[in-house]
């Protein structure tokens, strides 16, 4: 009996050690990735790199067009996705029992799982073919479709946390239903909704696959939405797979900038979540 207990205790200890080791091992690849990007990227980054246009191999160019392009793509995508997703999320919460809400809910889950390259194909068919040109617009639509499920879900879940008593309080003051929703319920859920929006932006900021045959990439500065546009991930892809070591170096720099951008957005969403939280 005594011996059996000993064995069980040793077994338990052993398991703890294994679990701890495997968990801590996760830090290793993260460390390696961050280490390489910072080491190789930091040397590249300076004012010239951020503010000038790409130059042919041999001359030191910059990535300003990619930074502007990424901002443009994300900005338009957000303009398309936020209102649509917000109202869809409100619909899901307010008409929770309807059949359409159930359909929206399962299709949103589905859309979240659709590989991003597939969304690239579809936007090629929808926008690039009819316009006969790769364009910033098609890239933005692709990113907007990817943002949709994330914002719909976060909107729905944040609205669900708002107590019904607030809705009643507003209605009892004679406020019409639509103003109750837009001025009482949505503001009460706003910190969660905005967190979701920021997270979705940070997620699509690094997307490359859906842009390959929509935004396509462009070595020049472009603000016209019907023309191809460059983005940071596209630039990294093109430079990293090029045979020129100059460009590969610049790809490290661009990677570091991309990671800083994405991390800053994630950090911002964390701050929103904790500090601006509404207490009911």
């Amino acid at each position: 009996m005594e011996k059996r207990l000993k064995i069980r205790q040793i077994q338990d200890k052993l398991f703890t050690v294994i679990v701890a080791l495997f968990s801590i091992a996760i830090i290793l690849p993260l460390f390696f990735i961050i280490f390489y990007i910072v080491r190789n990227g930091a040397a590249e980054i300076n004012w010239h790199f951020i503010t000038s246009l790409p130059k042919p191999v041999g001359e030191t160019g910059g990535i300003s067009n990619a930074i502007v392009g990424t901002t443009e793509l994300i900005g338009i995508a957000a303009l398309i996705a936020i209102p649509l997703a917000l109202f869809t999320g409100i619909y899901m919460k307010e008409f929770e029992k309807s059949k359409l809400a159930a359909v929206v809910s399962s299709l949103t889950d589905l859309l979240q799982g659709v590989p991003s390259i597939v969304i690239g194909i579809v936007c090629y068919l929808w926008i690039v073919l009819p316009l006969r040109s790769f364009s910033a617009l098609s890239g933005s639509v692709a990113l907007a479709i990817m943002m949709l499920p994330m914002i719909i879900k976060s909107t729905y879940h944040s609205l669900k946390l708002v107590p019904d008593s607030l809705k009643e309080a507003s209605l009892a003051l004679g406020t019409p239903y639509y103003r109750t929703v837009m001025k009482v319920i949505v503001p009460a859920a706003s910190s969660g909704i905005i967190t979701g929006i920021i997270l979705s932006i940070s997620r699509v900021a690094g997307e490359t696959a859906p842009l390959l045959f929509t935004a396509f990439g462009n070595p020049f500065m472009n603000l016209n939405v019907t023309k191809p546009v460059n983005s940071l991930p596209l630039l990294i892809f093109n430079y990293a797979t090029s045979p020129f070591s100059d460009w590969q170096k610049q790809a490290w720099g661009a990677s570091l900038i991309l990671i800083i951008m994405v991390s800053a957005l994630n950090l911002l969403s964390k701050i929103m979540e904790h500090k601006w939280k509404t207490t009911y």
Partner: protein
Amino acid sequence: MTQAEISCKDYRLKNLDKQGSSITRKETLFRFFLVTAAITSVSIVMGIFISLLFGSWKSINEFGLNFIWSSAWNPAARQFGALPFIIGTLSTSFLALLISIPFSFASAIYLSLYLKSGWLSGLLKFSVELLAGIPSIIYGFWGLFVLVPIVRSIEIKLGFIPYGVGVATASIILAIMIIPFASSMASEVIKLVPQDLKEAGFAMGATRFEVIKNIILPYASGGIFSGILLAFGRAFGETMAVTMVIGNSNIIPKNIFSPANSMASVIANEFTEARGDLYLSSLIEIGLLLFIISFIVNAIGNRIMKRMTVKK
């Protein structure tokens, strides 16, 4: 009566019917807005499926089911079969799952049952979140310049052709990428196990290991299965990281060090250069296959997860 009181009473009593009808009109408009948004979202998803179906019609017509079984991918001869890519995708995804499961499970168990607070727990959670936030293009870039040389030196030691790129490299990158997702899924599943069940186990004198093995894992088995399924769904649709390290060779891989190509990678590589309707249509059909697989995987996974949540 104060001035305010008068204006307020006026507002309430004047043109009651007119006010009422304008409110009703705005109300109807608002509901219409919401329904329109919901229907638009739904039609986008439906539209994706329909567009893919139409886009791949030529290829479906030409090759039928043979598209899936044929391994000939020869644009010059107008011969298109997706088997090498299907095998490439399945092998990299399965290998990635195999590699990542011990790590993601261990971290989920460690974080939700052992280390609930403290600096190590904070560091681990932070690391998992950071890993999840790194864009896939950066994983691919890093893989190409750091992992590929390492794999190449291993291949030389083992006596394989030292490509560096290939199934193994792609699987390792994929494994690192899905760890955060799989780990958060596993934590969620473990959270669904009722507290009193765990306590009952401890009350009977079971060790922590025994409680995990005999109570938590059996209870959560359905959720674990769906978590693995959903993680698989993540892995097989991944494009950029895989494209950069898999070698882009359109043949069925012979062993895990062979260069290969995945469904998503072949689309990424060849879509813009595809000449001819049939070529493009075949690539779109691969996209359709990706869509259908993701549909099935997510539908099953989410259904099981929902049932678990309701049961609780």
